[in-house]
């Protein structure tokens, strides 16, 4: 902090206007039908993820060798899987797996990407150029293929999946943050901070960060959708979360071979769970990005 305090940032009409605009955005967001439907779908799964011990009718890990692959009935609403486990209980408990793994992976990418984006956007020059080339190279590969290559090299595990998604997201999120930083560079508060001879880290994290935060939040929700997509896909291919986790992608992977025999329930219900979650996240994140007018 500099001792010479120049009151350039005193709350004036401009700041007041910005606040009103922000409140208007939230109001618009809460009224958007896209957001309401999306948030509702996500909320259902969040409730399952938190209260799974109370909501699941039976133990999702308890095997019953004599009741394998039973069709849906009043006793097991979604039927039982190949080990005699209750599919409904596993679908409910599975929400917890994906809703921990996906946000964690996205968070890692967002934190690392934000730091990288702030530095490159603020300093520019050669660091900036090389980052952009790196992003181009990373973007040339579909997320699933890049993830596959990483996971073969590292060996499949839940931790590896989280790390891989985080690493792959880092340069992509860095690019978004960088663009937001470039838009802020000419602002008055930035000039003021430079005139006060603030240190670069102070300017980046105290002055810039709060102002680019909306872009980061929007980017987080968009990436979250992609993270869920990539994680369930990699798990379905056998390279992600490992048994006996009740993860949805894993359940489908486990029972995929049985569908030609007519055993549709251990596959269809987790598939519908994935579908509702990704649609919910995507509807909500689209409404959020529209409200913040990216």
């Amino acid at each position: 902090m500099s001792a010479v305090a120049v009151p350039i940032e005193a709350p004036d009409e401009g700041v007041q206007q910005r606040k009103t605009a922000r409140r208007e955005r939230y109001r618009q967001l809460l009224r958007s039908p896209t957001f309401i439907v999306g948030a509702f779908l996500v909320a259902i799964w969040v409730i399952c993820a938190i209260g799974y011990t109370h909501l699941a009718p039976s133990d999702p890990f308890a095997t019953e060798p004599l009741r394998r692959l039973r069709a849906p009935s009043s006793q097991h609403l979604f039927g039982t899987d190949r080990l005699g486990r209750d599919v409904l209980s596993r679908v409910i408990t599975g929400a917890r797996v994906i809703l921990v793994v996906a946000p964690l992976a996205t968070l890692i990418g967002t934190v690392a990407g934000t730091a990288l984006g702030l530095v490159t956007g603020y300093f520019g020059g050669i660091v900036d150029d090389s980052l952009m080339r790196l992003v181009d190279a990373f973007l040339a590969l579909p997320l699933v293929i890049l993830g596959l290559l990483f996971l073969v090299a590292l060996g499949p595990s839940t931790i590896a999946v989280i790390l891989v998604i985080g690493i792959v997201f880092t340069p992509i999120i860095a690019r978004t943050v960088r663009a937001a930083v470039l838009a802020e560079r000419g602002q008055e508060y930035m000039q003021a901070a430079k005139l006060r001879q603030e240190r670069a880290p102070y300017i980046m994290f105290v002055e810039l960060l709060p102002n680019v935060l909306p872009s980061i939040l929007v980017e987080f929700t968009v990436r979250l959708g992609y993270a869920i997509f990539a994680i369930v896909t990699l798990t379905f291919l056998g390279f992600g979360i490992q048994p006996p986790s009740p993860d949805w992608g894993l359940s489908i992977f486990d029972h995929y071979a049985f569908i030609s025999g007519g055993f549709w329930w251990p596959v269809l219900f987790p598939a519908l769970a994935i579908a509702t979650l990704v649609v919910g996240v995507n509807l909500a994140s689209d409404a959020i990005s529209q409200a913040f007018e990216r």
Partner: protein
């Protein structure tokens, strides 16, 4: 135009070089000991050393990379460990199959997506627009295997309209082959429809709000004439770019589609290589995917600049 082209090609080559480094590092450095990763923790150390020597991974890293890159430039990617055949033979055969699948998907989705975007835009903020928007958003987010499995359950097993494999019996004609490829391409159609419809809608909305459109109306042109002559021409520009760019992403979806529909394409090959820890095949397959994507983006850029002179003359980026 020549300068623009040269710059774009140069940039693509730099990106490709960087990409080859990333892939090489991931396949050769990340596993630590490559031979150990392939043979497992209980293998004889001498066997691991022998495999490492056979693979050439006991040489210095820079030499390894340069010899791999040198081979790749000549189309020589070494030999596959699991198939015991040259990687380039396997890849070229698989690529042809994948292109067939991608072509069927494209023929369906491009007209459908553009039409969806136009209809949505002409009914802006009405029910039809909302419906198309929600369908697009759902499509973009939907993992291909989820759509694929639901389709297999519905059309393959319950209704028995389509076969549940993408591979037609040997010696069948092109029509039968296409018939086998229709259901496998539907999940891709679902994803791509979202991208194409959304960008077309955005382009249409922008063109409809533009001054030249108002001028055209004020000149007294009919609505159909304005849309055909002024709106569509400008609105479809970004769509061209998106269609070409999505070709690359299509290949990512192929891994899953080819796996669940048991189709011998590049996606299936990459998946098998991953399962077998066949690193020579895996890194070559991934590089080919990258090349396809970069080529598609390059074509998109050039096409876009041909259609829109402002990009060509108005400085870079």
């Amino acid at each position: 135009m020549a300068r623009f082209l040269l710059r774009r090609v140069g940039l693509a080559l730099v990106t490709l070089l960087l990409l080859s480094m990333i892939i090489f590092l991931m396949a050769n450095v990340l596993p630590g000991d490559v031979g150990r990763r392939i043979l497992g923790p209980f293998a004889d150390p001498r066997a691991v050393a022998a495999l490492n020597h056979q693979l050439g991974v006991d040489r210095p890293l820079v030499i390894q990379y340069l010899s791999w890159l040198g081979g790749a430039v000549h189309g020589d990617f070494g030999r596959s460990l699991s198939f015991r055949a040259p990687v380039s033979d396997l890849l070229s055969r698989a690529l042809v199959n994948s292109l067939k699948l991608a072509a069927v998907a494209f023929v369906m989705v491009v007209p459908l997506g553009i039409l969806g975007g136009i209809v949505a835009s002409l009914n802006r903020d009405k029910f039809l627009d909302r419906l198309i928007s929600v369908t697009s958003l759902s499509g973009i987010a939907m993992p291909e295997f989820v759509t694929g499995i639901v389709l297999i359950l519905l059309f393959g097993i319950t209704l028995r309209i389509f076969p549940i494999t993408a591979t037609a019996p040997a010696g069948s004609g092109p029509l039968t082959q296409i018939y086998y490829l229709i259901m496998p391409s539907l999940p891709l159609v679902f994803v791509l429809f979202g991208y194409i419809a959304r960008i077309t809608r955005a382009g249409m909305n922008e063109a409809l709000d533009a001054d030249y459109t108002r001028t055209a109306y004020l000149k007294g042109l009919s609505r159909g004439m304005v849309i055909r002559r002024h709106v569509l021409r400008n609105a479809l520009l970004p769509t061209v770019a998106v269609v070409a760019t999505q070709t690359g992403y299509l290949i990512g979806g192929l891994v899953i589609i080819e796996f669940i529909f048991n189709y011998q394409g590049i996606g299936q090959l990459i998946f098998t290589a991953a399962q077998q820890k066949d690193f020579p095949l895996l890194q070559a397959g991934v590089l080919v995917v990258g090349i396809v994507y970069l080529t598609a983006t390059l074509i998109a850029d050039v096409l876009y600049s041909l259609l829109n002179p402002r990009i060509r003359y108005g400085g870079a980026e």
